[in-house]
Amino acid sequence: MSELRKLTLIVVILVAIIGLLTAFVPNMIGITPQWGGADAAAVSKIGEIIEYKPWILPLWEPPSGEIETFLFSLQAAIGAGIIGYIAGLYTGRKEKKRDRI
């Protein structure tokens, strides 16, 4: 098995373990998970410290949760597309070079 494959396997296994632990840890340490954003938790923390109202509202907000999901997915898709394209480009060039030799 090549080094890269070994490394890929290790990363996948470790990420899976972290993912599984995350599902159980909150209940184990006595938190009922809401799975909300850390931002929202910070906002309620500000509320504990001082009564504070945001002095400006976002210019535009996604009109629904669906549209928000779409825009987040779009962000991931654009990024992943670019990485995949360039990794593919480099792989192709490397293979071409090898064929010539």
């Binding site: 972290i18 995350t22 923390k45 210019l59 825009l71 490397k94």
Partner: protein, 222 residues
């Protein structure tokens, strides 16, 4: 968190971030002019931050947060170039997703685009002669991610000091949210960055060599 930072802090963080962005744009132009062959790798670095910051991942605190993806670019191109990339990511999320914000942009550039990448770069520089290649990249990316969220906690603590206990007390509170939530995410970011780094290094080592990144194991074989 649009509108949550008081105006003085809005101005402060914009002013603090501005010089880094100016320098970063200059560096970016210089790299493109002198080493045009590194353009695809610049795109990968920007795209990686784009992907990773879109993934809201559940964490041990029962809340979700997202990684930053800035360690990759910081290690190769230096922290200032990564600062510019973070602006693109932060603007996308502020304008289209109401995530972050225009008033908080300066503060977010400072934490995600400056402190995080600088921390990653520093960890890389310190560790690369001591530890193995993979461990070094992992630690740099993971600690850069953590540094970003510790900075966010500091920024909020400065803006909202507790009536009793002040900034320190608030910092403990905010880092209990951000830093603790970030722990497993930072490990994931470190692992994924390490994998992408090794993968691209195997495919295209010459671009990495321009920026003086040599995998010791590989160079010994050659």
């Amino acid at each position: 968190m649009e509108g949550f930072l008081p105006l003085t802090w809005v101005i402060f963080w914009y002013a603090a971030s501005a010089p880094f962005i100016v320098y970063g744009v200059w560096r970016l132009k210089k790299i493109i002019r002198e080493y045009p062959e590194s353009k695809p790798m610049l795109a990968v670095a920007g795209a990686f931050a784009f992907v990773l910051s879109s993934l809201k991942i559940p964490s041990v605190t029962g809340s979700c947060s997202h990684p930053t993806g800035t360690g990759f670019g910081a290690i190769i191109f230096g922290p200032a170039v990564t600062s510019v990339m973070s602006v693109i990511v932060l603007l996308y999320q502020a304008l289209l997703l109401a995530h972050g914000g225009i008033t908080t942009l300066g503060a977010n550039i400072f934490s995600m685009g400056i402190v995080g990448p600088f921390a990653a770069y520093l960890v890389y520089k310190v560790l690369r002669n001591i530890a193995g290649f993979n461990i070094t990249v992992f630690a740099a990316a993971a600690l850069g991610d953590m540094a970003t969220y510790v900075t966010t906690s500091v920024q909020l603590a400065l803006a909202f000091p507790a009536p009793v206990g002040g900034v320190l007390r608030s910092f403990i509170g905010f880092s209990g949210i951000f830093a603790v939530t970030q722990l497993p995410l930072a490990i994931i970011e470190g692992l994924v960055t390490m994998l992408l780094f090794t993968y691209l290094f195997e495919l295209k080592p010459d671009v990495f060599r321009i920026f003086h990144i040599e995998d010791k194991a590989t160079s010994m074989e050659a």
